[in-house]
């Protein structure tokens, strides 16, 4: 993209009007103001796109195989391990990393911290896409995806935790669509819609907190159905929901730091100066919030062990693995963050955030797969399961990038707002 931005002064598009006063058409906006030929050229010049093409070439046939011949042909899911990577990574891993939407919504809209405003939209988009693709992962994993609306309208089982997850994710997804719509309306130039949403923003934000608290917690609570199966160190009937909720707070914040870092590195042409200038400080600010959540998390993790009297487990192999997880995924980044905040070092914060993001995924995989059936045997996912997971995650990245290229997320719309 850089080449083109240098060549053409009207690119990137930040306004409804071209420098000569005429209006951008939607097609032109979609093509980023480039001709179709140019767009294609820049697309194939990007090495990432080649990687994506390979992933799609391998993954798509496997995905089709899954829908034509059943889950059994592409996964190692079994009677003992009903859930594999699709849920372990796709649902349980992606949802906490998407908590950013409600976190920054709350910070900016409720607590009035307008200084976080430049990154709010990115956090909201991160939330929306994370949830949306978590649902897509679910659609891959469900035996009968075409019955997705059943728990909503056909046969309701309201006493089940999954019922809460389904309802709250569905409602929250619509809340997030509403929260991201203003950027879309600005880009589209339909200001009525934007104003309508603006007027609901407080309600949306509050319902965002409620729904997030509940379903982030509910995802954890799903495992309280398996008290004999999941290793006791990763399962606490009383605290599971709060473990999941609390870790989603720093997970979501750190995900925004990671994504913004990538944007700064690979998409600087799209950002406006305000975003780029404030980003270091904002990252430190987000890290500050994450630090508090991490401290809380470590405390409640050990409170749970004390409550369930599980200290003896720490001396076993599983206990050591548990301590390794806590140390590498939480304590280490916590120390890095504290040091970095003191020394105003955004680079270290970013590195720590990356550890946290991977750590959250690690924790969720531990809970859903690795430490599940700890007294039985370990399941290794089928390579095709990995291929589909990579495929769906790639679509996530592509969609993310597609939207960031166009909508006013990391830049401010110059036209009418």
């Amino acid at each position: 993209m850089k080449l083109f931005t240098n060549n053409k002064q009207e690119v990137p598009i930040v306004d409804h009007c071209k420098p000569d006063g005429s209006k951008w058409s939607i097609t032109e906006k979609l093509l980023l103001g480039l001709s179709f030929q140019d767009y294609k050229k820049q697309f194939f010049r990007n090495p990432f796109n080649w990687a994506f093409i390979i992933i799609f070439l391998i993954g798509t046939p496997i995905l089709i195989e899954r829908y034509l011949f059943g889950l059994g042909t592409v996964t190692h899911s079994s009677s003992d391990y009903p859930w594999g990577l699709f849920l372990g990574f796709g649902l349980f891993g992606m949802v906490p990393l998407s908590a950013s939407g409600f976190m920054l919504g709350t910070t900016v809209e409720l607590f009035g911290r307008k200084d976080f405003h430049p990154i709010e939209r990115l956090a909201l988009l991160n939330g929306l896409l994370g949830y949306f693709f978590a649902v897509l992962f679910l659609m891959v994993d469900l035996g009968m995806p075409w019955r997705l609306p059943y728990p909503m309208f056909v046969s309701l089982g309201p006493a089940a935790v999954l019922f809460l997850v389904a309802w709250h994710v569905a409602t929250y997804l619509s809340v997030q669509v509403a929260e991201v719509l203003p950027s879309f309306f600005e880009w589209l130039g339909w200001l009525k819609g934007k104003r309508a949403i603006r007027s609901m923003v407080l309600g949306l934000t509050v319902s965002g907190i409620i729904l997030s608290t509940l379903h982030q917690g509910a995802l954890g609570a799903l495992f309280t159905y398996a008290p004999g199966k999941l290793h006791p160190l990763w399962l606490s009937a009383n605290f599971q929901w709060i473990h999941f909720f609390c870790s989603s707070i720093f997970g979501g914040l750190c995900m925004v730091i990671v994504v913004s870092t990538l944007i700064k590195k690979f998409m600087a042409w799209r950002c406006d100066d305000h975003f780029l200038e404030t980003l270091d400080n904002l990252s430190l600010g987000l890290a500050k919030g994450a630090t508090l959540a991490m401290i809380t998390y470590i405390v409640i993790k050990f409170v749970a062990i004390a409550h369930d009297k599980e200290w003896a487990y720490l001396l076993t192999g599983w206990g050591q693995y548990y301590l390794l997880e806590i140390t590498v995924a939480v304590v280490l980044p916590l120390i890095l963050c504290v040091w970095a905040i003191r020394n105003d070092n955004a680079t270290v914060v970013r590195f720590a955030a990356l550890i946290v993001v991977l750590g959250i995924i690690w924790n969720r995989l531990n809970t859903a797969l690795i430490c599940y059936n700890w007294h039985l045997y370990q399941e290794i996912p089928h390579w095709k399961e990995v291929a589909i997971t990579v495929l769906v995650y790639s679509s996530y990245i592509i969609t993310y990038r597609f939207i960031l290229y166009r909508l006013p997320i990391v830049y401010e719309w110059k036209g009418e707002k």
């Binding site: 009677s79 809209e109 469900l142 709250h168 917690g217 199966k229």
Partner: protein
């Protein structure tokens, strides 16, 4: 059932808001988990491990009764007992129930016992089934006769029931893309139990290792068997308390873990472990809105005040 339908209707009428979800949840939960007294006259089966000789007649009868697919080996082929890593579980050494069989018998050579012991596996038909309480589309029901039955027409295929079942009983047709479903023992509910007849496996069992009757009678019977033969049995009835009580009960001559039972299954219904979370749901729904709107007002007041201060300074 009628009550349930009314609930559903109110539910839809009441709109799709979270608050309704919560009130529903609370109501249903207390009804399903708290006050529910079980069906007093529900039936069960007492499995006496000392009596089973591993003839696999139950497997054969089940296969025929339920119209299950053809097995890999005839049911009078006893080499299956020595199979290691049979299909059905990738890393499991033992045979287990799969989508092709609702029940299987496994052989155990227990040190100190001069003959092999056999244990039958099938759905235990819990009094408060975890599969039922974890299902978000109400695909499971516990019938007054004691069976836990499954309705494939509403199932979404999320497989949470398989996560929740402490006995690893429900299995899923992973091989089917268009008509997958959960497969598990249904106590021959439709074909037999409903009419008061014992399930096919009980009827065929030559050794009467399986005794069919009211669960309450069976418990008594089991206790009296233990009492009159204290040397023959371990003093425990597996299923009396496991998972909150199951319709199928077991007596064993050796410690239960030696014949493949999971002795770590909690002695209370699985739903008890979930309750802590379920109870916070209404609280969050009620307290959060007020709390956070309050925060908002407070922080805005601060804004307004500082604005005011600034104005004052300018003046």
């Amino acid at each position: 059932m009628k009550n349930k339908i009314i609930n559903r209707r109110n539910f839809i009428k009441g709109g799709l808001g979270g608050a309704v979800v919560a009130s529903q949840l609370k109501g249903k939960e207390s009804q399903a988990a708290g006050a529910f007294d079980h069906y007093p006259d529900s039936m069960g089966v007492l499995v006496d491990v000392t009596r089973c000789v591993g003839c696999r007649s139950c497997e054969a009868a089940c296969n025929q009764e339920q119209g299950l697919p053809e097995p890999e080996k005839p049911f009078n082929d006893y080499s299956v007992f020595d199979e290691v890593h049979p299909h059905g579980g990738h890393g499991r050494e033992e045979r287990r129930t799969t989508e092709y069989n609702y029940t299987i018998v496994n052989k155990y050579n227990v040190p100190g016992v001069d003959h092999p012991l056999f244990r039958k596996i099938q759905c235990n038909h819990c009094l408060e089934p975890a599969c039922l309480t974890s299902c978000f589309v109400n695909a499971y029901s516990k019938t007054p006769e004691g069976a836990v039955v499954y309705d494939p027409t509403v199932c979404v295929g999320c497989r949470t029931c398989m996560i929740a079942c402490p006995f690893y009983v429900p299995t899923f047709k992973y091989g089917s893309a268009f008509k997958p479903r959960i497969m598990k023992c249904v106590f021959c509910h439709e074909t037999r139990l409903k009419e008061g007849r014992p399930p096919a496996c009980v009827e065929i069992c030559p050794q009467e290792a399986l005794t069919f009757g009211k669960r309450t009678d069976l418990l008594e019977m089991a206790k009296s068997r233990i009492r009159s033969n204290p040397d023959k049995y371990v003093d425990h009835i597996y299923g009396e308390k496991e998972a909150g009580g199951t319709a199928w009960l077991y007596l064993s001559p050796v410690e239960f873990d030696k014949v493949g039972f999971d002795v770590h299954v909690p002695h209370e219904p699985v739903i008890n472990f979930v309750r802590d979370f379920l109870s916070i749901v209404p609280m969050v729904l009620l307290i959060w809105p007020a709390l956070f709107t309050g925060f908002h007002l407070l922080s805005n007041r601060k804004d307004a005040k500082s604005q005011h201060d600034e104005d004052n300074q300018e003046v």
